[in-house]
Symmetry: D2
Subunit: 160 residues, 4 copies
């Protein structure tokens, strides 16, 4: 399940609790477990803005994932609460991209990620985003000045 | 993530939101997805009673699953909130059992389950429950009069 | 992926290699990982008999899982090859059941299981099995004399 | 389970059969399912060269994933056989990288990927690769002239 933090309206984050099933024999959350967390964070990001991804799917459309780029920086462990900050970073009629930062309660970054998406219909064919969705998403496209890529890049460099 | 309902102290339930990754091409939550939900519900059931399963594991012990019996009654779908009521139904020094009821917000039962557990050490050998855990769990063993097996059986029969 | 052993035509088994992603922090295959293995074994059991579950699904039908009963006897570990023997144990127009035995290469039983199924259409409504499938499956229904339930029960008792 | 194609010694590929549990309600293999396939392909790549990742793990070491970059080009569906060609593309004492191409039997590319790894000990601390592993891996480092990045880049461009 997911929880959206109402105290952070501008950059709300979704929190997931690491499940035992999501760990591996290294004693940490398996790197594949993060994929479902990003997905849940996207859905909650939409819900928080009045957009129902469930309704989008029920209308016969999907935001198919065209790319997933995940960088792991520290381990998340069983029972950890991982906060996932999500933002829309690019939007065209046939393309959207989100960026993510995953942090532990003490602020440590466990991972960052980028996903790229293509709207598709039920047959898997790429289609244009419906005007309603495109306009709504456009209003949530993050101002690059507010969250510049460079800042994320700098943070990444510092984490090494 | 999980959420425990504070308004139901006697029979608190954990809620999971069905993730997109948990669906299958039948358009419903895959039957295997439920296993991690039961597990999360057990962990929350313990947390709600002051018991940390994380600490149990960090102490080198596990509650290994010896049996999993899941009965599916109705479909759970993407984005559904599934409430999982959990109760401890049996407890011995080397054995414990939990029962579960999974319901949608409208009260429909989607599944019920039983899991049986054996305490094990790091090598996988069956061991006795530590006295502290045994005593604590014993105080939460559900009164059979309060939640008789028959009642669950009757409900099952009625659902067919 | 799966591999069917051609040297055992009467009781062919499907083999899965335990993936790293399927382990948990106890250092063994997570108990939830077995669910997908049973499913793969059913699909291979059908393929071995000329039945395509893919075609069944493409025809708008599913063999929805109504019950899953898994008993864990020994740990399977990362990279272990687990052989899954599968047999059809019950068949009616609206119900089918399979039994499974999961073994390591040295013969040790890691788990046994039973799954019960209900044929459903795309809306999830229970339907009758198409005649072609029912007749084909009927010819593969295991003779109880050949594989009596008691024998499995006896083996279970012996394993304790 | 995995199968390594003995007919392609220079660039052997591992094949996975898409499990039903790996599909999602879009009717295709969920994008998160690919992560375990890449992992299985790495393990088979090593096995094919006489390297046991199981022994590596049993020796207290892991090749922790530091980055996962997956590009999805076409859908893989339930029951499809996906061949995964894997090659080691970078190797230092504290870093290794693999590249992957995932194809359907008809040759269509479903995805390509890169993973980057850091050797770690049981505490998660980055360590140097043991000399034996480093030397063995070094002998399998792919000649860039043989499999130039540009070629993959060109193929990507052509697929769009």
């Amino acid at each position: 399940m997911t929880r959206t933090d109402p105290a952070a309206p501008e950059r709300p984050s979704t929190t997931v609790r690491v499940r035992f099933a999501e760990t591996d024999q290294m004693g940490v959350a398996h790197h594949g477990s993060y994929v479902a967390w990003l997905e849940a964070a996207r859905v909650e990001w939409m819900r928080h803005r009045g957009l129902s991804y469930r309704a989008f799917e029920e209308g016969g459309l999907s935001m198919a994932v065209a790319r997933l780029d995940l960088r792991y920086r520290a381990a998340a462990r069983f029972d950890d609460e991982v906060a996932i900050a999500c933002r829309l970073t690019a939007l065209k009629s046939r393309h959207a991209a989100f960026a993510y930062e995953l942090r532990l309660p003490d602020g440590r970054e466990v991972a960052s990620a980028v996903t790229e998406h293509v709207p598709t219909d039920r047959t898997g064919r790429a289609v244009r985003l419906p005007a309603g969705w495109r306009d709504a998403l456009a209003s949530f496209l993050q101002d690059e000045a507010a969250y510049p890529r460079d800042r994320i890049g700098a943070r990444r460099a510092a984490a090494r």
